[in-house]
Symmetry: C2
Subunit: 343 residues, 2 copies
């Protein structure tokens, strides 16, 4: 039996070109840290260096797992945790504030092999929301848990809890005050009082800051994850696309893994992540073309943002229709590539 | 001006075959009241008659609007409200109970012309959750609001509020007690304590009971809506597919309007509603074939349920992979067709 296997291997080796035998199957990790009006003139060189360092750390954390033969799901979690733990991004520590001065966090994750998925929305005490999403996926038969119930579930499953003040940063607190001032100005001067209650902070903000990761592991399996603090000054338990499987996150080995960032409502209304998956699956489109098509559908209803995509061959795309997107990728060769602005 | 119009009509009348002039553009309404282990031997003739009467009332409510030239969105809301107001269905009054003895309701609605969408999850005091979803769609820039914030938004927008006891029915309360007893039995006898915390009531229940409607109006516009009380004995703020745009509900004039019912998590993981829309759009499949394909993907991950679908020509499908689905349809001729069991 062993001899039979060895001789089969020998035949395969003589038939295949050398490189195909010598190389491992490809691995690929792609990350984003939010898309938006990110312009070089608005960012100091120091701040830019900070962002690049954190994106590189995120890429290396995921790469270490993939390169060791670990799973795409574990790589996605490791990459996202680095960004959640950094105050630079609108996810985990450094999340934006709701209208009533709270940090309400959303996250989701999906395994392209099994189509298992997990998500949480409106959590306030679990340190790493992406871990809560993973717990929902692996330790319950559910996909989405919201608000207090989700926090309770995370706590019961032993995930690190923090006082809600852990997530607070002065920068985000000032953003909330600014948003409220602008809201008051609009309320004072505009007849459309209702519209004023929902100023889109993206209009005033340099970046959105949602984070995400997609990965292909050596076993040929895809995974995707997304984590966010949502919208500054949000009310009424608003939930965006990040915890919505099919909108902000999707992974299926039959096509691609996707994580999205941008004006969440528009991404939900066009099921962005699943749309890209469908276009690749049914139309056999290249990843960048499918991504551009999906973002065009978002733009058609006045939305903007970006997506990262990877397929089973290690092909990938990082597309956005905003000025910039914090982004990076790393493949089999282990060399991180990082970019912030548009071309 | 009037003469000009009349002469144009006269020319059109002479050019077109008689039937095309005499008939208005087609209208179509399709509804469901949940899919599941619905077997004739388990339902008394009296109960069956009650269901049929309520389904017919729902169809006629939506038809009256469509036949008057009203919008598909208004027809969907009217149809769903009839079922929400009836204790027979697991939506609005008659919703199932959570583990802690509450009724937490979810609903969503989508306009296929504008891709506007609205949804609420975990509401407890708004009498008609489908109206709350519509308010989110039309009176906020958001798509999804959850828990207390969603209730607060509905109240501020003048929607009828009720005491949470309004939703309570003895039948559902007994179902919860039965589910808890079975949970205790499993806890006492099974090593897998975690699994025991999530007994799937669908295993014991004769029907799921989520309600939904899809419609085509005379203006050629599609709409879809879904409303549910979720799962008996659910915990941790669990949210199923009903309020998830792309999973339980989707409508786009470029393809179809869809409402789904069944094991919600599996419908989220395969983005059932958007999947059907994509298969019709990209593969040009007939509605019943696209529906069967999507339900096959749900079955592949051990899920079951049903879908209703309508397109711009008035073609429609009512597919399910369970024993039965409460369902009905009404078209241009105004004759309601109602069915409960499989063939």
């Amino acid at each position: 039996m062993i001899l039979k296997k060895l001789s089969a291997l020998f035949i395969a080796a003589t038939l295949l070109p050398f490189s195909a035998v010598a190389e491992n199957p490809p691995i690929r990790l792609v990350i984003h840290g939010g898309a938006g009006t990110i312009l070089k003139q608005n960012i100091t060189p120091e701040k830019e260096a900070e962002y690049k360092a954190r994106l590189e750390e995120s890429l290396k954390a995921g790469y270490a797992i993939l390169n060791d033969g670990g799973t795409s799901i574990d790589a996605v979690i490791a990459s996202i945790k680095v960004m959640e733990n950094s105050p630079l991004f609108n996810a985990g520590k450094g999340a934006v504030f709701t209208n009533d001065g709270r940090n309400e966090l959303d996250a989701s994750i999906m395994d392209g092999k099994t189509l298992m998925a997990g998500a949480v929305a409106g959590v306030t005490t679990v340190k790493n929301p992406i871990e809560a999403a993973y717990a929902v996926m692996t330790k319950s038969p559910h996909v989405l848990m919201v608000s207090k119930g989700a926090d309770q579930f995370a706590a019961q499953n032993g995930l690190t809890q923090v006082d809600p003040t852990y997530f607070k940063t002065d920068f985000r607190w000032q953003q909330l005050q600014k948003a409220k001032e602008k809201e008051q100005i609009i309320l004072d001067h505009d007849d459309n009082k209702l519209a004023a209650l929902y100023i889109d902070p993206m209009m005033y903000d340099y970046k959105f800051g949602t984070v995400g990761a997609v990965a292909l592991d050596r076993h040929g399996n895809l995974a995707a994850g997304t984590s966010t603090g949502g919208m500054t000054n949000k009310r009424y338990g608003r939930v965006g696309d990040s915890p919505i499987i099919g909108a902000g996150t999707y992974a299926n080995n039959n096509s691609v893994a996707v994580s999205a960032t941008g004006s969440g409502e528009k991404f939900i209304r066009t099921s962005t992540a699943f749309n890209i998956s469908s276009q690749v699956r049914f139309q056999n489109l290249p990843l960048d073309v499918a991504s551009k098509n999906a973002l065009k559908e978002v733009a058609d209803i006045d939305g903007s943002g970006g997506v990262i995509v990877v397929d089973k061959k290690g092909n990938y795309a990082m597309e956005f229709n905003t000025a910039g997107m914090y982004r990076g990728t790393i493949g089999t060769d282990g060399k991180p590539e990082i970019a912030i602005y548009g071309e």
